[in-house]
């Protein structure tokens, strides 16, 4: 009976998070909601007046919006990494995070998907970007990286959604059982009539494995394709072959940092210490360290390639990054992404949750800046020196970015009240 008791305990502990919201929680929801609404209002103003309200200009046609897009897509990655790749590699610590990480993936993708729209000059024609039969007999240009993006992000979104939902299915049944009344009915409906029969489990296990198998290459490919938005161009600083692995490593770095940022407070507030042991967080920290090293290697390779190539345009570009007008951002980026994570070689720091939390925040900042530096400095100093020019984000761009964080946290906060934040079924299985 001990087994059963602990199963009961797991259910209770995990579902305790879904109890009546505290005042603090409501305040957080309100704050996130207001940020989101503010961002939407600014976007509305931008649509009405024109892209001029943003700071982007000639030659820097992409700025904070694309930075945000790449940042959020990057955040999305570790969710899939933890739930799919670690599933295939049967890493046991995955259970502590996979639900939260998958939710994070989904929400980050939802936020990321907004930015290509926000940055469009004529967003009301965004449907032009999808191939659909029309009277003009005009399709989309499949040679354009932006169309690859449309496909990659939509695919990633749908696959993640299915994966998330499938993972959630048995847990929904548990919630439905424990929640009486109409709310429980809704959860029951969402289970589609899941009964946990051996027939269903048989196919379920296969499906979960197949989805993990399908999602695994996406971890590498989606951010590769995002990186090709840049690498396929001819802009010095963008046009490099190392961009795909460099971006994937960066994405996982920023994603793991975001997982740590979200999980450490969540574990504390929802009292899930028993289910998310420090050793598991340490394992995530090790992934962070590894990807940080890969990213640092990419930084070195990038600079090395530029100066070894003897290409005037590349050399000026990388000189400008390190010593030009945006040098402060560059060096903050190096500190946050390369230098500080090295402290994780020290085991004690790896297990110090407060330290990890602060570090993860800094890595988030560093990774956002990395995308900003790549996007902006490359455009600011390209081929024709007459057309050089700098870029300063406008309040609209900053407000919309804040709004995107508002949306992300709003969704995440709703998630922890609406769905079980840990996979109860998998915890029981363990």
């Amino acid at each position: 009976m001990q087994n059963s008791a602990s199963a009961q305990q797991i259910e209770q502990d995990v579902l305790a998070a879904m109890s009546r919201p505290s005042r603090c929680y409501l305040a957080c929801i309100l704050l996130a909601g207001l940020l989101f609404l503010g961002g939407m209002a600014l976007w509305g103003r931008q649509i009405a007046l024109g892209m001029g309200v943003a700071g982007i200009s000639h030659p820097v046609g992409w700025g904070v919006y694309i930075t945000d897009f790449v940042f959020w897509v990057g955040i999305a990655h570790s969710g899939t990494l933890i739930s799919a790749v670690l599933y295939i590699f049967r890493a046991r610590f995955r259970t502590s995070f996979n639900r939260a990480a998958e939710a994070m993936t989904l929400f980050a993708l939802m936020v990321a998907g907004l930015f290509p729209l926000i940055h469009l000059g004529r967003v009301w024609l965004a449907y032009f970007l999808f191939p659909y039969p029309n009277q003009r007999q005009l399709w989309v240009n499949f040679r354009s990286p932006l169309v690859w993006d449309v496909f990659a992000v939509s695919t990633y979104m749908l696959v993640s959604l299915v994966f998330f939902y499938i993972g959630l299915l048995p847990d929904l049944a548990i919630v439905a059982r424990r929640r009486p009344g109409p709310v429980g009915k809704i959860y029951r409906l969402l289970t589609l009539g899941w009964v946990g029969s051996s027939q269903q489990w048989r196919h379920y296990a296969k499906l979960y494995f197949l989805l993990a198998a399908f999602a695994t290459p996406l971890v590498a490919s989606v951010h590769s394709i995002v990186s090709w938005d840049f690498a396929v161009s001819i802009v010095p600083g963008w046009h490099t072959t190392i961009f795909a692995p460099y971006f994937v490593a960066g994405a996982i770095l920023s994603g793991t940092a975001m997982v740590i940022t979200l999980v450490i407070p969540m574990r504390r507030l929802l009292r899930l210490e028993a289910y998310i042991p420090v050793t598991h967080i340490e394992a995530i920290a090790k992934i962070l360290l590894l990807t940080s090293l890969i990213v640092s290697f990419a930084y070195i390779v990038e600079q090395g390639l530029a100066f070894y190539s003897g290409n005037l345009f590349e050399m000026e570009q990388f000189r400008f990054r390190a010593l030009g007008d945006y040098r402060l951002l560059f060096w903050i980026m190096i500190s946050c992404n390369s230098l500080l994570p090295m402290t994780l070689f020290v085991g004690r720091l790896r297990r110090n949750l407060a330290y990890l939390f602060v570090l993860s925040l800094l890595v988030n900042v560093g990774m956002w800046l990395e995308r900003f530096v790549i996007v902006v400095t490359s455009l600011a100093r390209d081929f024709d020196p007459y057309a050089w020019g700098n870029y300063t984000p406008s309040l609209t761009e900053i407000g919309i970015t804040a709004g995107s964080f508002g949306l992300f946290f709003l969704l995440f906060l709703l998630f922890i009240k609406v769905l079980p934040v840990l996979s109860i079924t998998e915890l029981k299985e363990r």
Binding site: L49, G50, M51, G52, G55, I56, S57, H58, P59, V60, G61, W62, P116, H119, L120, G121, R122, V123, L125, A126, F128, L129, L138, W139, V140, N141, R143, S144, P145, L146, V147, V150, D229, V232, S233, I234, V235, L312, F313, E316, L379, D382, F383, D384, P385, Y386, A387, W388, G389
Partner: protein
């Protein structure tokens, strides 16, 4: 009734219903004018070309005006006109902005006691003037008429008007009066006139201060001459100046001398030339004795040039077969102005006159123009309360007279001040009555800018509101004051005058071609020794100016400031500094380093009597301790009067320079003054590299070779000829409805120009100009990245942008190595009536779209349609983009590369041809011919 018939009926009925229900009253008027062709044979939807004359500056270039839907939409130089031969400068292009200027004066205005202006009817204005004229006659005050330069029949009418009303016609006022030159020619040759200098025939051109390319006499004419000269390796052009001007930038050699030392230089040159065997016989010893002594060392010290440079200059001068020296501009605008002009004229007599380098028979028509001395006299008479009614027409003496003259104060003494103008200026601000004048494209008229060249003005648009042509105004006033007038209206007067003067054939020619040339008698110019001796007796060279000194330099964008209010000209950056809006002072890099100044830092310049604060712009190649102050930067660009010549002094010396610590945001459009060694304009080093590349054989490519059927449009730009004057830029703005966005967007890096002039300076401060526009690449990086096919390659090689398809990702712009794509950051609107200035052949772009140069697709389309009607292909020269058409230097050629006979084919395969950033493999269709 069968189905077919039914549908036809349905179509007819619904079409008629839709047409009849179209729009408001305003819209209906428009609709009618489109449906009913006017008597001029103007057919809606098709263009018509009418000849006319540009009145934006005194050069009066010949125009062809493009009319669409009853309004002028584009000006082009008349290819056969003797003054400009097809070219048109940026001011000429922009003069349409004057025609449609939102602030055009629309009706007579009267100043109230509280200083505000009130609209009054013409009848009242004329009655008040007539009464005031009579009143001042009774009080035995003189009535006076002050005008800008006037020529042609208007001159005759004005003469008639003034004599019959007893109005004194004052010497005409022009800020660039060239008084010193006219005075010296008067003193030496008894011919106080301005000749046409024949730089086109000279083998050595030495210009001292004369800004041939910007404002000197007839800039388009001299641009054509000078750029041809600069492009010819066998001929040489040398420019001497203290500051840095566009003219200096384009000369083969530019020598920088101390401001005010031109006299010493010319004196030494004269003496060393007179001692040459070739000229010795011609040079009268009598004059030699009158000249002050001069030697090489002293001249070198005074001018700041090295002795070696001076000797080289002299020997080159002596060797030249057809040398031509032109002095003027800033060289005569200081206290040594008279000696400079006199010595210059003597040198011209010695060297240029014998081979016909100066054509006095085709003299520029400046004989009626006075100088600031005349204005000084007027001011004194005003102060003495001797002037009753003062008319000021088409000039701005208040702005252009030095503060010391006190004209603004003395003007108040006149009993009635009447201003005639099309736009308000400093002078109209002092007037009691302001009468609106019609634009040159709204009225009949003729001009005679150069003796023997008569240009036609004809109304191509109904005048704005109540504006009148000056001729009509004079006739009305005459009728009001005397009860009778020589003609019912100006057109009748003009017709009668023409019929008297010209034969029928000539008149037909004038109407058809827009101009007429009358043969002029050859003049023999002789040096009058006695007069010359008298003039030289008093010749005294004063010391050069004390440094640091500022040169107040004229601007190619606003002439003497008269075109300042045309916003298009502020939108186009100054070619040397690339500053668009606002004022500045250009300083040398050394000076900036010494004073720790950066671009935009404010600098205070102070003398005892004068001071100014301006943001600085660091100008490579500028001499240390010499500052260039654009005329437009100052409220009063003349600092004093030269008592000897009446020229405006345009220098400030012994300046006290002090940074104020304030910083302005200057719209500097260039991201870098240097090309950073990138070979956009190849230096010898790059040429070597290119040669190496060629030895590696053709570029390997994964992509299929482009294939074109009948046309592959291409452009060649000769950098040797390009002078950076930006006429092409202005032409492009007007032709393609390019939005003018203003200073705030320029500061944000959002200018919309499809074509820009990029100045690149080398270490020595020499500059080359690179016109940059869409390169229409074979392998265009912008096209492949567009997700929606808005940018694609058309079968004639053009890189086209489908505005309606564009969703605004801006990826194409990011991926364009030439950065020539422009994004519509806002919904750009033009203030009425500027919205009428619109080429209906191409759409206006709305917010969120990308746009760029199309090689003037609409013009190619017109040429192709014409060729199709005649069942043939477009021939060489039939399709010309606006930029190529406007270029006074003839630097831009356009055509079909598949036509092996075409001019473009020859240019593209010339030795000098190269492509910018060719190493990227984009294979542009714009080929540049590198400067040697």
């Amino acid at each position: 009734m069968d189905r077919r018939q039914f549908l036809q009926m349905l179509g007819l009925v619904s079409g008629a219903a839709a047409l009849s229900s179209c729009g408001s009253d305003k819209g209906q008027k428009e609709l009618v004018s489109l449906l009913v062709p006017t008597e001029d044979g103007i057919v809606p939807g098709t263009e018509a070309w009418r000849p006319s004359t540009c009145c934006e500056c005194p050069a009066h270039c010949g125009l062809l005006t493009r009319i669409r839907e009853n309004r002028p939409v584009k000006l082009e130089g008349n290819p056969r006109h003797p003054v400009n031969r097809g070219g048109l400068c940026l001011r000429g292009q922009a003069s349409l902005w004057r025609l449609y200027h939102p602030q055009r004066l629309q009706s007579p205005l009267k100043r109230q006691a509280d200083g505000r202006l009130q609209t009054i009817p013409w009848s009242q204005a004329l009655a008040e003037i007539a009464e005031a004229l009579q009143h001042s006659r009774r009080q035995s005050r003189q009535n006076a008429w002050l005008a800008g330069r006037t020529s042609g029949t208007l001159n005759a009418l004005l003469e008639e008007f003034c004599s019959s009303l007893g109005i004194e016609r004052l010497a005409e006022f022009e800020p660039f009066s060239h008084a010193a030159l006219r005075q010296s020619y008067g003193l030496l040759f008894d011919r106080a006139d301005l000749p046409r200098y024949r730089g086109d025939q000279a083998d050595l051109l030495i210009t001292v201060g004369a800004d041939l390319l910007e404002t000197f006499l007839s800039p388009v004419d001299y641009t054509t001459q000078a750029s041809a000269l600069a492009a010819d390796q066998k001929r040489h052009w040398l420019h001497l100046e203290p500051h840095y001007s566009l003219t200096g930038a384009n000369a083969d050699d530019r020598l920088v001398l101390t401001p005010g030392s031109e006299g010493s230089l010319l004196l030494w040159l004269l003496q060393s030339l007179a001692s040459q065997r070739r000229y010795r016989g011609r040079w009268p010893q009598a004059l030699q004795d009158l000249l002050p002594a001069s030697d090489l060392a002293a001249t070198a010290a005074a001018t700041g040039l090295r002795s070696q440079q001076l000797q080289q200059l002299a020997s080159r001068f002596a060797r030249a077969e057809k040398p031509l020296l032109i002095v003027g501009g800033v060289a005569t605008g200081h206290r040594n102005g008279q000696p400079v002009a006199l010595l210059g004229a003597l040198l011209q007599w010695l060297t240029a006159l014998p081979w016909g380098g100066m054509d006095f028979s085709a003299g520029e028509n400046y004989s009626r123009v006075g100088s600031l001395l005349d204005l000084e006299e007027l001011s004194q008479r005003l102060a003495a309360d001797r002037i009753g009614v003062l008319f000021v027409s088409r000039c701005d003496p208040v702005r252009h007279s030095p503060a010391a003259l006190g004209l603004q104060g003395t003007l108040a003494k006149a009993r009635l001040r009447v201003g005639l103008a099309d736009l308000a200026d400093d002078t109209t601000d002092q007037m009691d009555l302001i009468l609106p004048l019609a634009h040159g494209l709204e009225t009949w008229g003729d001009t005679e800018p150069r003796r023997g060249v008569i240009g036609l003005l004809q109304p191509l648009r109904t005048p704005q509101q109540q504006a009148l042509s000056e001729g009509d105004l004079l006739l009305k006033l005459l009728r009001q004051a005397t009860g009778k007038s020589p003609a019912a209206d100006w057109e009748t007067y003009l017709q009668r005058n023409w019929q008297n003067r010209f034969s029928r054939v000539q008149l037909g020619q004038l109407m058809d071609d827009g101009y007429l040339t009358e043969p002029q008698p050859q003049l023999s110019i002789r040096l009058d020794l006695a007069r010359a001796a008298k003039a030289l007796q008093g010749l005294h060279l004063q010391a050069p100016l004390t440094l640091p000194a500022a040169v107040i330099a004229p601007s190619i964008r606003s002439f003497d400031g008269r075109s300042r209010s045309l916003e298009l000209l502020s939108e186009i950056p100054d070619p040397l500094t690339t500053i668009s809006y606002g004022s500045w002072v250009a300083i040398a890099p050394q000076t900036a380093a010494r004073l720790r100044l950066q671009d935009g830092d404010e600098l205070q310049m102070k003398t005892a009597a004068w001071q100014s604060k301006q943001p600085v712009r660091i100008q490579p190649g500028q001499a240390a301790k010499v500052l260039t102050l654009p005329m437009d930067s100052l409220p009063a660009p003349a600092t004093g009067i030269d008592p000897l010549t009446g020229e405006a002094l345009r220098y400030c010396e012994a300046l006290h320079l002090k940074p104020t610590g304030k910083r302005h945001r200057l719209p500097i459009l260039a991201g870098s003054p240097s090309q950073q060694g990138r070979g956009l304009i190849p230096t010898p080093v790059h040429r070597q590299q290119k040669h190496d590349q060629q030895n590696h054989g053709p570029r390997a490519s994964f992509y299929p070779e482009p294939h074109y059927e009948n046309y592959r449009w291409a452009m060649a730009i000769d950098l040797q000829r390009c002078i950076g004057c930006s006429a092409c830029v202005a032409a492009c703005y007007v032709e393609n409805n390019v939005p003018v966005v203003g200073a705030a967007d320029h500061l944000a890096g959002r200018e919309m120009s499809w074509l820009r002039i990029e100045p690149f300076y080398d270490e020595q401060g020499r500059v080359d100009f690179l016109p940059m526009l869409c390169q229409h690449c074979n392998y265009a990086p912008c096209e492949a990245v567009c997700p929606v096919y808005a940018a694609y390659h058309n079968p004639e090689g053009l890189n086209v942008q489908v505005y309606n398809r564009c969703v605004g990702t801006r990826y194409c712009s990011n991926n364009c190595p030439y950065k020539v794509r422009r994004f519509n950051w806002w919904q750009h609107k033009r203030t009425p009536p500027l919205d009428l200035l619109r080429n209906p052949d191409l759409p206006l772009r709305s917010k969120g779209m990308m746009e760029k140069c199309t090689f003037c697709l609409q013009r190619i389309r017109i040429a192709k349609d014409r060729a199709k009607d005649q069942k043939r292909l477009v021939q060489d020269g039939e399709a010309t983009p606006a930029c190529a058409q406007s270029c006074p230097a003839g630097a831009i050629a356009f055509g079909n590369l598949l036509d092996k006979e075409s001019g473009i084919y020859r240019l593209v395969h010339s030795q000098r041809a190269y492509r910018v950033l060719a190493e990227l493999g984009t294979e542009p269709a714009v080929h540049y011919l590198r400067p040697e």
